[in-house]
Each structure stands twice: as structure tokens, then as C-alpha cells.
Amino acid sequence: MDSFAAAPEMPLEFASIDDAIEHLKSSHPYAIKLDERDGYDGIIVDADQLLNIARVIRDDLGFDYLSSATAVDYLGEGDHMEMVYHAYRTSGGGALVFKAQTDRENPTIPSLTSVWRGADFQEREAWDLYGIRFSGHPNLKRILMWEGFHGHPMRKDWREAYYEEDQKPFDSRWPGGHVHRSEEKNVFGKNVSYPQDIDLNRLMDSSESAVYESLGLGVDIERVMDKDGFETNELVVNMGPHHPSTHGVFRMVLTVDGETVTSLEPVMGYLHRNHEKIGERNTYLHNIPFTDRLDYISSMGNNHGYVLAVEQLMSLGRRYNPPTYRCEALRVMMVELSRIVNHLWAIGFWLNDIGAFFTPVLYFIQERERILDFFEAVAGSRMMCNYMRFGGLFGDLPERIKSVTNLTNDRVRDYNTMQFLTEMINERIPRTIDELELLLTQNEIVLERSVDVGVLSADDAINFSAAGPLLRGSGVAYDIRRAEPYSIYPELDFDIAVEDEGDMYARYRVRVQELRESVRILRQILPRLEATRGESIWADGKPGAYAPRVPHGEAYGRVENGKGELGYYIVSAGGRGGSANPWRYHVRAPSFINLTPLGHMSKGHKVADVVGILGSIDIVLGETDR
């Protein structure tokens, strides 16, 4: 505030967050109030004024990047619905958090898609899961559930099939835990309710017609024909959900004019399991292994984001010990190794998509195997690492990466851990990156397929809330490790990889650079591990509690994951003693939000390029669909 008063000519785009809020309060005195709930942050905006204020936030205050937009249902805690927005500046710094509240009965909030197109999918998700209507949204329909679905499953009073209790642990497990299978129970018990006018014999899914309608096509094929006769040259092509190029069960509905794509609509949700609802039934600790299953290529990064968010909340309480230095160094090492795995995988499969079928990717997978072997020896599992804990880790590095025979034909390996790591980081991984570049960077076919294909301009990338290599490939040097540093990144020496062209090739180049930067970081981690040898990974020397209580408040923890910005929005609604289960657990999934510009990028390209463009975004469906 002082700095603002002292230098009134300072442009508002650089004003501190407090000053920015002051400015908003003076320009919209009646529409804004500070969020004064215990442990909460930011401002509460009058829903009527939301759109205007969002414009001011974006244009005048410079918060040009909408990271996350999500809903919370405060049933029994004030009985309202709330949309929570986190806006950042691409020049770096913290979030301006603003919220809009609406009642639960008929929740309506103005859509922000005209300000940030990145809000598109996120608002659709909030409509789908919470039933909040967004007035002015161009395409407000369900995104993860199917159109005929009854109810909005993230609402606190919605209960899933086989519902047992609101929160784990369930009482039926102990002390009188007589086992039964859920499937032996009747699914159509009292957990399921139907709309009154429904006739089970005539169930129809309206998802299909909704998809085609939003593309400007009626489902009624005859109508298309009537209009254009048989000479029509617009054709609808469904790619997926079961298509090798979609990296999972993902569907793209294209309209093509000849070979050229005129519009594209992503259809997802085939792998939806309502991760967030599960997360709200779970205790805080239960959620860590569940985060592994989001982006299952880089589970270490998922763990990291989640523990950071919960540690933010825990640090509000009195009895909180931040992780030790060794713990932080180990976390960063694991995350950077995951990034290498992620990028090797992304580049390899992107090559598959543009036709270099499996030879390059197998070379990269060979390296990935070594890293996964290391994860397995340290964390116990190759992909579902479940390695990080609040304030610590599952365990320190073992002295040796060593196996013991158990099954028939078992073959033993035995390496010194530090030696294995050193050789990996100093020899193998750099060599692989060199080979990768030799194989691809100047390869004429790769160049022809990828240069100037799928272009996303810098402004569009920001406006679409693109994240990770997709954003940096468009010339925006935004990397959370630098923009809002966490863990020990401030003291590490590395550069943000960035390329200006915004096409598929630029994204590829960004990934290669990031591979090199990760190696650079890892080389700095090794001496730190040597220096802290023997230090405990827990601040007080012993592992954390199995049922930690987390103080009242909200937190948004975000990390730069391989695929982009991974954020966790957590609300703890306990009393002063804290809560054992999160009230709200939201994942800002980069794979999901990065799909928002897919249609925009694909327009005007050939069908075969769409596959490459999707590959260059690098999605994983476990995270997209959640």
C-alpha cells in the first residue's frame, strides 16, 4: 500500500497484489469485499460485477493469465456455491484470488470466457459437476459426464453408487470388518434416483446430438443432405475414442472439407472417475497415492504439487515443521527425473503420431526404464511412486539399488545408488538427448511435418490458459519454477526454455531444451545430496502422523509439471483443530486445460496434422478426465 502511495505513477500492471486489491476496492467500492474467512485469501466479488472486474483485473492490473477456475459447494458452511479464480501475471508473482458467490438453489454466475477463453472448459466442468450456470457461455454443456446424467456429482449432497459414508475411514472396516464386495450390493439401491419424467425403457443419450450441435451440425443427417444435396463436401469424422493416436480414450469430432479441418470439438470423460469426489471422501494422506494416477507418466510431480498445497495449509497451524533441506533436494531430483521421463515419452509418442513409428520412442523408453528402475528401488513402484509425504518423504535413498531373488528365474541386480545416479545423470541421459537431437532436430521429415503446423500465438496461448511447453513454445517465458518459485528452485541455476514460433516444432525444441535444463539441475542436486548425507528427511527426525489434521483455510499449490502447470486447490473446513479430510480438493489439470486451444490450433490443417498437434500438446487421459 505504501509503495503505491509513494509512487502513484507506477503502472498498475506492476502494482503489488495488495495494491491491486486496493485499486479494485476504490474503483468498485460496493462490489468487492475482502475474503476474511480464517485462512482465506483474496477478494469476494459481486457476481453482477464479475465480468467488469475481471476485465479490470486482466487489462488494467495485468493479471493476464487465468490459472484456475473452480467451484466449491459450501453446503452446511454458509450454504452457497462459490467460484474461485486464480489469476496470475505472466511476468511472475503470486495470484490474485477472486471469488464469486451464488446460492445453491439456482446457481448462476456470468461466464468469463469472453475475458479468458481458458475459462471455457473449466466453466463447463463446474457446470457439469456443480450445476452452476454460466450466463454468456457459448457452449455450456457437460464435459466429463454424459449429457443424460442426472445430478451434479460434486455437490456435497450427491451420493455415488455404493455410497458408504461421507468420509473415510469407514466404520465398517474395523473392528467388525466382515468383508463383502460392493458389487454384491444392489447398485440400484437407495443411492440412485431418477428424474420423475424418465422412462427407463426409452433411455436416450443426448450427448451425441449436443456434440454435433455445437459444431453447427444437426444430428439430423437428412437435414444436412437436404440443404446441400449429396454434393456436400463437409464431412463429420469421429476420431477416437479408440484410436491409437489419441493417447488413450479421447475423441475428436472433426468437420472436414476435403482433407482440411474446418472445426474440431474434443470429447472427453471416458476415463472420468470423479477423482475429486474420491479426494473429498479421502483423508489428506489417502490422496497422495491417488494423485499418482492423474498424470501417471510423472507421478512424482503430482505428489509434489499436492504435498505443497497441503503443507501450505499446515503451515497455518502451530505445529508444523517444514521439510529439511535433504528432503527438498530429493524432491527436486525426483521431479526433474520425472520431467525427463515425461519429455522423452512426449517426444517419442509425438513422433509416433507424425509417422516415425516406434523406433525413436523405443530408444527413449530404454532410458526411461533406467529411471523407473531407480524409482522402484527408492519409492517401491515404477509409476505409482507415492513417494512424498507432508513434511517429508516415504524414505531416504537406499544405500544400494539391490534386489533379492524370490521367484523362479529371478535375476539379481545390485548397484551403488549414488554411482548409478551419477552415471545416469552425467553420462546416459545427456547421451540420449544428444542422440535424440541427432535423430530428429535436423531431420527433414520432422521439419516438414512440424514447422508452421498447429500455430498458437503468444497472446492466444496466454488467453487460452495454455501451460507448460505449449505456452513456452509460443514465446511466453513462463515457468512456475521461476515465476513463483517453490522448494529449492531459487538457488538452482537453470534457464527457462522458450521458443517463439508457436508451432509443433517449437514445442519439440522447448522439450529438448527442458531435458537439457533438467540434466543441469540434476547435476547441481548431486553434490547437494552428498553434502546432506546423513541428514534426516524429516524435520523432527520421525515420520509424520498417519492422520494429520489440517488447519482451516484454503491453499493453491502449483508446480511446473512436465505437461504444464499442475495446481491443487484445497479447502480445509475444520474448526480450529483442523480437519482430517479436505472439504474441497480440486486438480487444475494441465492436460485438460491445454486441450482448450486444440480446436483453434487445428483449424485449416489436414486430418493427419491434427494427430500431430494433439501429440505436441502432450496429454495424458488419466489427468484430462480425472
Partner: protein, 280 residues
């Protein structure tokens, strides 16, 4: 010149192709003769060429920390005093900490008094639901549940084979020590003995009941001792202790701790009401 990038790439592919054979030659095609030597080298950081493992003719032995479905530790048959006895005290922590809630435990009770005894009457894990997270092993205060290394569990019928009962889950302590010697050793260091915590405690008590004061009040009846540790731990969080206090054990239902907790709760509720009033 157009095509040089391509040619370089193809040369690299060729090099990989040749290297895969060089490695095979170096190890004299022993890879295909079930040889165990050189496996570590071929799989290590120095190797070049193909690293394929010929499963199931050869398998990569898993590292000690590897986790698959859990097993319950029982005392070896040749144990002098506790042969065949479960390490599990049915304290229930693993069931609480299990994320997908796939552990079901029936706590044992004394047939005469009805009081809970530190022995699970039944113990089930639904391995279809188990997500192999390893929490149960990590948080069990008695080292009684561990993650197995045997991942070959395919079966023809999931409905009859995939709920592991206590018999199926139980493995002798010596098995655990053989598949994870380093970890077993580390756990021993933490416990301070190779024996089960309680067994060691009882043994100590037997020796020193008269002389040195033991950490536990010596007057406490033996039957309820094992409960003290888990109960003391779970008293730290109110929800756990609410379920941990069994109805049958009503000797001191209202301790000083409970009174304090109730007081804290009342204050917290007051604060919450104030907050709500402020907002409303």
C-alpha cells in the same frame, strides 16, 4: 543438403542395431542360456544395445522396497515361545490408513469377558481394490503387515481368489527377512529387537519387574497392555480415538484427556458460531 538430417538419423539407427549384437557377442549369447552372470551389467548404466529381459525365462528380481499386495507376518514355526502367532494386534491403523479401504479386520475378543484381545479374528484384503500404495506397511506400529514381492497373482476367477483371507495373507517372519533383509534390519533397529514389540516388552517386564521401573506401569494387567500403544498413538487425533475406544472396555471412559478435548471442541464450536454470525 537436403537429406543429411535423415541420413544421420539412419546412421544412428544402424549403430543401435549393431550395438545390440555387439553386446550379445560380448556375453557370448549367454542371455539366451539362462545365465545369471552379467545380468546386472546388461541392465545397468554402462550397457549399450538391447536390454530386453526374456520374461518368463528370466525375470528382474525386484528391489527390496518394491511393493505388491500386503502380507501378514506370523512368527516362524520354530520360534521358541510364539510359534505361529500373528504379529498383528488388530489395532486397526492399517484399515484406517488404507486409501481405498480394502482392509477388513475383525478384532478378536476374549470369549469369556468379551474384552478385545490383541489378535485379529479375521483379516481380509480385497486385492482387486488394493492400490499397492504401501501405507498399511508404512504405518503399522507393529511391523505386522508388509508388502510382498510376488507379483504373479493372475488367476482364472477373480470372485473366488481375490479376497485374501488371513490364511492366504500370512507369511512367516523368516520369509519377510529373506525378501527384504536390509529393511528387516532397519526395522529391527527401530524396534530395538528382532522380536515382536510386545513379546520383547513382556520379556523385559518378566526380567525387571522388581528392579528398574519399566516404561509402562507394571501394575497394568497383561491382557490390556498391547492396546496401550496404539491407543496412545491414536489419542492424538480425536476421530481415531473415538472409534478406538471399544464399548466393552469401559473401565475409565472419561479421562482427563477427554475432558480437555471436550473443552477444546466446545471452544472451537463457539469460535465457529461467532465466525458464522460475523459472516451472516
Amino acid at each position: 543438403m537436403y537429406g543429411t538430417g535423415l541420413a544421420k538419423g539412419l546412421m544412428l539407427t544402424l549403430r543401435h542395431f549393431v550395438e545390440s549384437y555387439i553386446d550379445d557377442l560380448r556375453y557370448g549369447f549367454r542371455k539366451y542360456h539362462h545365465s545369471t552372470d552379467n545380468f546386472g551389467i546388461r541392465q545397468g548404466t554402462q550397457t549399450k544395445g538391447v536390454i530386453t529381459v526374456q520374461y518368463p525365462d528370466e525375470k528382474v528380481a525386484v528391489p527390496e522396497r518394491f511393493r505388491f499386495v500386503p502380507i501378514l507376518i506370523v512368527e516362524d514355526d520354530d520360534h521358541p515361545t510364539r510359534a505361529g502367532k500373528d504379529w498383528c494386534t488388530s489395532c486397526g491403523i492399517c484399515a484406517k490408513v488404507c486409501p481405498p479401504q480394502c482392509i477388513w479386520i475383525v478384532r478378536g475378543s476374549d470369549p469369556v469377558t468379551g474384552r478385545p484381545v490383541p489378535d485379529p479374528e479375521a483379516f481380509f484384503i480385497d486385492i482387486d481394490i488394493c492400490m499397492n500404495c504401501g501405507y498399511c506397511a508404512e504405518y503399522c506400529p507393529f511391523d505386522a503387515i508388509k508388502m510382498d514381492h510376488d507379483y504373479e497373482l493372475a488367476s482364472y476367477d477373480r470372485t473366488t481368489h481375490h479376497i485374501h483371507d488371513k490364511e492366504r495373507l500370512s507369511k512367516p517372519n523368516s520369509y519377510w527377512r529373506s525378501i527384504a533383509p536390509t529393511r528387516a534390519y532397519e526395522e529391527m533397529l527401530v524396534r530395538g529387537t528382532w522380536e515382536h514389540k510386545d513379546a520383547a516388552k513382556e520379556a523385559r517386564r518378566g526380567q525387571s519387574s522388581s528392579s528398574a521401573p519399566s516404561p509402562q506401569p507394571a501394575a497394568q494387567p497383561a491382557a490390556s497392555t498391547p492396546r496401550t500403544t496404539p491407543a496412545a498413538e491414536s489419542a492424538a487425533d480425536a476421530s481415531a480415538s473415538a472409534t478406538a475406544a471399544p464399548p466393552a472396555e469401559g473401565a475409565t471412559p472419561w479421562s482427563e484427556d477427554d475432558a480437555k478435548r471436550e473443552e477444546r471442541r466446545r471452544k472451537a464450536l463457539e469460535r465457529k458460531a461467532r465466525r458464522a454470525a460475523k459472516q451472516g
